[in-house]
Amino acid sequence: MQASRARLFKEYKEVQREKTADPDIQLVCDDSNIFKWNALVKGPSETPYEGGIFQLAFSVPEQYPLQPPQVRFLTKIFHPNVHFKTGEICLDILKNAWSPAWTLQSVCRAIIALMAHPEPDSPLNCDSGNLLRSGDIRGFQSMARMYTKLAAMPKKS
């Protein structure tokens, strides 16, 4: 537990230092609890998520970094590997492929990469996965872009 705290504190300082290093990721720690983090990631370009800003919620276990953090989308996203209702993410590095060398920042990068490269063979969002698996790229992209505009973009009057 003490190790996780020290590690998270170091990551916090790293984030503070490299605030402008990665413009696509804004990682902020909860004011009162260092085990709760929030992240804002920009949807990668040339994807249906482009222009959207997606909020992620991190819940870091006390065994961190030996155990992976629990991450989920707070923003609705139409993605085959993200549960549409709960925001749960199916990502191997958040499950069995986790390495203690990873950080919350690198998890954010991995999630951005996942948004750019969905994996329809292990879907949490079956509709989205089925669209991709059936080859309906256009349908998937339009759905994803619609939900991005609905949920992840600032509302226009």
């Binding site: 190790a3 020290a6 590690r7 504190f9 170091k10 300082k13 790293e14 230092r17 970094p65 030996l66 492929a97 390495s99 203690p100 060398a101 990873w102």
Partner: protein, 380 residues
């Protein structure tokens, strides 16, 4: 009390002539007068003794209080000095007519010599005291300046004193010993928290006492300010950094009762810079793994200074510990925890193959052999 008794005497006097009185009564009245006079004398003595008692009680009580023990020590020093002064007056009755600073110096000298038998220190005492009374008498209102002169005088003395390393301890101890040989506890307490009280003392206490004390104590004051200064070298020797602190203390007194800022022009060149001390290679080197992230990340690719898993500093054993071929280093503690869980290298996600011993058996790497030996060392 004394005033009351004196008022009784005129009351008694006019009454007898008015009333017709016999010789016996007149005699009685005369006796009463005498008794009244005696009473007045006795009350005066009583008040004196009460004052003395209160002082002595205060002197007894003060050392117990931690906060006020500095002033208590000063008062005790004064009392001691007064006692010594009286004693010396009795001794050298013929030589000194009035309780002057010279007498004080003499008494102090005698005591210092009798206790410590050092030839250097009494001379320094004389120097300091000869400086002090003049400044004291000349400008009693602005005591800081007078203290500055004292401080400067003593600083010159102590400065020359402290240049010699061998003479430091002896002279310092003689300073404190010559003054506080009589009360040990006061000395100890002074050593305890002189640093904390020194600033406030130098600024306020001396000033206050100088203004409020009687003329007798003003004469004594030259004695008890050298003790105050004299304690410092001794305690500085205890803290093993005599020179800078001594000078610092002396300089602390004049303007604000504070030490210099780092960019102060009056700051002597010989003083070590605090910022330099903080950025001392030893200190920063020990902590830069956790504290200075920039350092760690700059040096990280070649040899991380802290464990990337738990962020604890890597000690020598850890830094020579190479558990995996991929070159990912981590501390032995985290390695053990990883082995207990899934046993895969955090860097390459490959299995550790049962630890570095197996790795050494399959590969003839010097680093692995080193790792094994080191891990053996830590386990044994």
């Amino acid at each position: 009390m004394r005033n009351l008794e004196m008022a009784f005497v005129p009351l008694d006097l006019p009454r007898p002539p008015m009333v017709l009185v016999g010789a016996a009564e007149f005699m009685a009245m005369g006796f009463r007068k005498i008794s009244v006079a005696r009473k007045a004398i006795s009350t005066a003595m009583v008040s004196d003794s009460i004052a003395n008692a209160s002082i002595s009680i205060a002197a007894k009580d003060f050392p117990r209080k931690k906060r006020a023990n500095r002033s208590a020590k000063l008062k005790q020093c004064k009392l001691d000095a007064r006692r010594e002064q009286w004693l010396s007056q009795v001794k050298n009755k013929g030589c000194k007519g009035e309780p002057d600073a010279s007498v004080v110096v003499d008494a102090h000298n005698q005591r210092g010599q009798s206790i410590e038998n050092l030839e250097i220190m009494p001379r320094e005492d004389m120097k300091v005291e000869s400086v002090h009374p003049y400044s004291d008498l000349d400008s009693p209102s602005n005591s800081p300046t007078s203290h500055t002169s004292i401080a400067l005088g003593s600083s010159t003395v102590s400065g020359t004193n402290f240049s010699g390393s061998s003479g430091d301890s002896s002279s310092g101890s003689s300073w404190s010993g010559s003054v506080t040989g009589e009360d040990e506890e006061g000395d100890d307490e002074c050593l305890d928290d002189w640093e904390a009280v020194a600033d406030a003392l130098a600024a306020t206490n001396d000033k206050k006492e100088q203004h409020t004390n009687s003329s007798l104590e003003e004469h004594i004051h030259p004695i008890d300010s050298p003790p105050e200064l004299a304690h410092r070298p001794a305690s500085q020797i205890v803290t093993l950094c005599p020179k800078p602190e001594c000078v610092e203390k002396v300089q602390m007194v004049p303007p604000t009762g504070r030490a210099w800022k780092p960019d102060d022009t009056f700051r002597p060149q010989s003083l070590p810079n605090l910022s330099k001390q903080f950025s001392f290679p030893m200190n920063s080197g020990r902590h830069y793994g956790c504290g200075g992230v920039t350092w760690g990340s700059n040096n990280a690719p070649s040899l991380p200074s802290s464990c990337p898993i738990c962020c604890e500093d890597l000690d020598f054993t850890d830094s020579t510990f190479l558990p995996c071929l991929c070159g990912f280093r981590l501390c032995l503690f985290c390695h053990k925890r990883i082995l207990e869980e899934d046993g895969r290298c955090p860097g390459c996600r490959k299995q550790y193959n049962g630890g570095p011993i197996v790795g050494e058996a399959t590969l003839d790497g010097g680093g692995l052999r080193l790792a094994r030996s080191c891990s053996m060392v830590t386990r044994s």
